[in-house]
Symmetry: C2
Subunit: 238 residues, 2 copies
DNA sequence: GACTTTATTATGTGCATACATAATGACATG
DNA sequence: CATGTCATTATGTATGCACATAATAAAGTC
């Protein structure tokens, strides 16, 4: 054990980072302000400029600081509020709420995709795609409908997969590496089929997400539409 | 002009980063694989270990690599799909779609908040909050209803603000520094009032977001419910 | 065999130094 | 006056070195 040598010993550039973050939160430096140079901060904290540099870069990476080669480092005026949320596997999402998960297979066909799906996926002309419908349940209550199209020319393994016991959602996550895509949220009125599957009697507003997933060659692997039971809320911390 | 000296001269640790990212994308290293030690990579790239370290840290920060003190660096198996989207100011959101923005003030009152709002905001007991309703339009068409509660004990300046010409959304972003909060998406059936304000005739499913914003002391500044016109989609790239 | 100690290994961090690069202003020149 | 040159400044990056730390393997002890 060394005696406390006044400096910040156990620490790291992360100490500097959190200290600077504290000053930002407490408005010690106001939005738009120019803050001291790395050298000055290094002197104040009693560390090398490299260390301060590392810390400030990390903060700038998060969008709270703006740095320019000569004009120094300044506090970003309106830090674009960024929400970053993770797209969970449905089973994990349900189980993380401490509900019991169950799964009901609905249908699986090879079909010529309708225009809307073709526009989203851009499959080779004339091919049939794998079309799977399934229901995920939480505590035996319908939770979300999974309505999925898979391009088996891109993912031939999927043609042999059995989705009666494993959801396409889970199967894909576990078997297919993917690299990008996009995501959309919307609200829609329940169709007759959706009302029946979700076991609801009155017409309701349903929260809906559509997701498209691509492989490393930028070919669309799959498109899925998730239609949640009434009352669903997607919550995100900032 | 120097002749090309074979090494990567203009570069940086970012070169290493992109190279490693390329290898990950091309599955040169498979998910779960252990990749060479920093020292080995440094040798291969002809740079110092520090440089490789910086690069790998950056990638690990993005969740694609997992590093442990002795066991080395390995490719994360199921990189949690993270979508990160920025919460735009409504005006900017509309104008970024190349639509003309306009604003219609609806009402502004000091009211005792209902239970639901009190639960969200936790204001001092018995105080009145500022309750503002407004409509944002795109190309003269109703786009979204802003229904907002502001705690004027936390933000006294808001009591004197005039929301007839400036939306609370814009005013707050420009005037109040904030530090955190949360966000929820859902779908709801249009109420009579919403149908009237949004100028829709039939009952529709409306995409709805609720946002809570806190200051640096973790007090809730404002809660807002945004109800979008039918057909709205929130799109996010990955 | 169960446990503790010790060595080894790969990453984590700090530092001093050197040089690169972008942005800015001062100055000079046509 | 417009333009080009140059010095200055603050950040960006690379490197070699030292040491800290976590995790594992190997060796030793009861």
């Amino acid at each position: 054990m060394r005696s406390n040598t006044s400096r910040l010993p156990t620490n790291s550039w992360q100490s500097v980072e959190t200290e600077v973050l504290n000053r930002l939160r407490s408005n010690y430096w106001m939005p738009g302000d120019l803050l001291p140079t790395e050298a000055e901060l290094a002197a104040e904290f009693g560390c090398a400029r490299t260390t301060v540099n590392r810390a400030l870069q990390a903060i700038a990476d998060d969008g709270l600081l703006e740095r320019k080669r000569k004009g120094g480092t300044r506090v970003v005026v309106h830090p674009t509020r960024k929400a970053t949320f993770s797209i969970p596997v449905i089973r994990q999402e349900i189980e993380s709420k401490e509900l019991s998960y169950s799964y009901r297979f609905l249908s699986q066909k090879r079909e010529h995709p309708p225009k809307t799906i073709r526009a989203l996926m851009n499959p080779a002309p004339g091919v049939r795609l794998l079309h799977v419908k399934a229901l995920h349940l939480a505590n035996e209550q319908p939770y979300v409908i999974e309505n999925r199209w898979i391009d088996t020319t891109i993912v031939p393994e999927a043609a042999d997969a059995n989705f009666r016991n494993t959801s396409p959602n889970q199967w894909l996550v576990e078997n297919i590496p993917f690299n990008g895509g996009d995501l959309a949220f919307s609200a829609s009125i329940a169709s007759d089929e959706e009302m029946s599957v979700l076991e609801i009697k009155e017409s309701s507003a349903l929260f809906t997400t559509e997701r498209r997933t691509r492989d490393s060659g930028n070919s669309t692997i799959t498109v899925v539409r998730l239609v949640y039971a009434p009352g669903y809320r997607m919550e995100i911390g900032l």
